[in-house]
């Protein structure tokens, strides 16, 4: 296998973020195992607007008001909202909290 064929390792998602996602989603325990950075909040994780509002509140509670998912989403059009991933949310977190 050369470098081109070697799969790119997918970095794990911050456990703190996964826990907040699971809480907002009222998800069963095994749900978190399927969450990756590429998971779309809307199309893959099936989070609705009220669950996204709960996630926003959870992020602010855990990381402070500068982690503002609502502000991020407010600047997106429909295509970008549909494409929004866990990795995009993770980029909002302070660097020391992402791992």
């Amino acid at each position: 296998m050369n470098d081109r064929e070697r799969p790119v390792p997918v970095p794990p998602v911050s456990p703190a973020l996964v826990a907040l996602l699971a809480e907002a989603a009222q998800a069963p325990p095994d749900w978190a195992a399927g969450v990756t950075g590429q998971s779309r909040l809307d199309g893959d994780l099936l989070l609705d607007e009220t669950e996204l509002a709960a996630l926003h509140e959870g992020l602010r509670r855990s990381f402070g008001p500068s982690v503002d998912l609502a502000a991020l989403r407010a600047g997106l059009d429909l295509d970008a909202l549909e494409a929004l991933t866990v990795a995009d949310v993770e980029r909002l977190l302070p660097a020391e909290d992402t791992r």
Binding site: A25, Q26, L46, D48, E49, T50, E51, L78
Partner: protein
């Protein structure tokens, strides 16, 4: 006597509340007609209703979840349906010569035609979707919707400087909910939240009343128009959850038989249940539903607590309102496990706070005045004896 034309989409949840409103208007001596897809409206309205058909064409099924459902609703239904029906609506107005139109928020063509003929029009907001502007935190999404509506306005060759959002009549926005759910924030004077307008729905004539066992607590499971694998999967989890609730809980499923798994012997299942009659007879103890406004309103005015598993559109918002009011619990449709769902059901059955909150919220919703209050507001759209702005209609 006035003539009112109701412009509605071919969607059961949108048509049903208009039936009770129309009955009240007719009882007051007015004339009422509907316009829309006759093949969908006729079974809901009965043989005697006056219906101006707008033709039949298959539109994208209401499906999906979240933003995909929003896109599908607008691009697959609201816009193409408006384009398809505008001419027929215009013809219906010329033929029926209404004094005012009542236009569902999902059928903006009605507002365009009313504007063209300078006829008074009111908005029907049967769900909570547009009413509370649930996407006000997403301005680019709202802009996208406005762009689609403006496109319809231009296509109808209406003057751009006169643009009015066809979802919100400046004269009347009639909503079948109330502040007990939507919250205490003040609303404009022309918004009338009248609470549920109760209307019996078409039901299976042979409902097996004799199978409702004495001494059991009963949960009605009614999830709107469920289909496909997703629907079958949820119903399978619901069946298991109700088994876990124990033998003292008897489920009554209103769902397509082909989506249901094998049921325990004490479960009752029909395609279409006589929902209001079940509630009126006091044989239910809780309702598991999708958070559709009509079912929620009906349950609450009968003092029934709810477990909601919202799927799309306004359902998550209605479900959140029910939970905030203490009248029920919300579970995630796609993810809830049988254990979690059983625990939620047992909570609303066992903890009296949910039932008392449901009764309180239901009483407050009823205080909105229902069909009578709605008819008062609709009558006020028309000034008796006023000349018609367009004498041709």
């Amino acid at each position: 006597m006035s003539r009112f034309l109701l412009v509605v989409p071919p969607l059961t949840g949108h048509v049903n509340p208009t039936v009770g409103l129309a009955r009240e208007l007719v009882a007051r001596g007015h004339e009422v007609a509907w316009t829309g897809t006759e093949t969908a409206l006729r079974p809901l309205l009965g043989p005697d209703a006056t219906v101006f058909g707008t033709g039949t064409r298959a539109f994208r099924a209401q499906g999906g979840h979240g933003l995909a459902a929003v896109r599908s609703l607008w691009e697959g239904f609201i816009v193409p349906y408006a384009r398809f029906t505008t001419k027929a609506l215009d013809a219906a107005v010329r033929e029926f010569r209404p004094d005012a139109l009542l236009v569902d928020q999902h059928t903006p063509a009605g507002a365009l035609v009313a504007h063209r003929h300078r006829l008074p029009w009111g908005t029907l907001a049967p769900g909570a979707m547009e009413l509370g502007r649930p996407f006000r935190e997403l301005p680019l999404l709202e802009e996208w919707m406005t762009g689609l509506l403006l496109g319809l306005w231009r296509r109808a060759k209406l003057p751009e400087e006169e643009y009015v959002d066809p979802r919100f009549s400046p004269a009347l926005v009639l909503a079948f909910t109330g502040p007990a759910l939507t919250g205490p924030e003040p609303v404009p004077a022309h918004h009338a939240a009248v609470g549920p307008v109760l209307t019996d729905r078409p039901a299976d004539p042979e409902f097996p009343w004799e199978r409702l066992l004495p001494g059991r607590r009963r949960v009605l499971v009614t999830m709107g128009t469920l289909s496909g694998e997703l629907g079958a999967d949820f119903l399978a989890r619901a069946v298991r959850a109700l088994e876990l609730c124990g033998p003292d809980v008897q489920p009554v499923f209103a769902a397509p038989g082909e989506l249901l798994p094998e049921l325990p012997g004490h479960a009752v299942a029909v395609d279409r249940a006589p929902v209001l009659e079940l509630m009126r007879r006091g044989v239910l103890d809780a309702v598991l539903c999708h958070g559709g406004m009509n079912t929620v309103g009906e349950a609450l005015v009968h003092g029934l607590p709810l477990v909601t598993a919202p799927i799309r559109h306004d359902q998550p918002f209605v479900a959140a309102q029910v939970a905030a009011a203490g009248a029920g619990l919300r579970v995630p449709f796609a993810r809830v496990t049988p254990d979690h769902l059983a625990a939620a059901l047992r909570s609303v059955l066992d903890e009296p706070g949910y039932r008392s909150a449901a009764a309180r919220v239901g009483a407050e919703l009823l205080a909105g005045g229902g069909a009578a209050a709605a008819a008062d507001r609709v009558e006020a759209l028309v000034t008796p004896g006023a000349p018609r702005a367009n004498p041709l209609v």
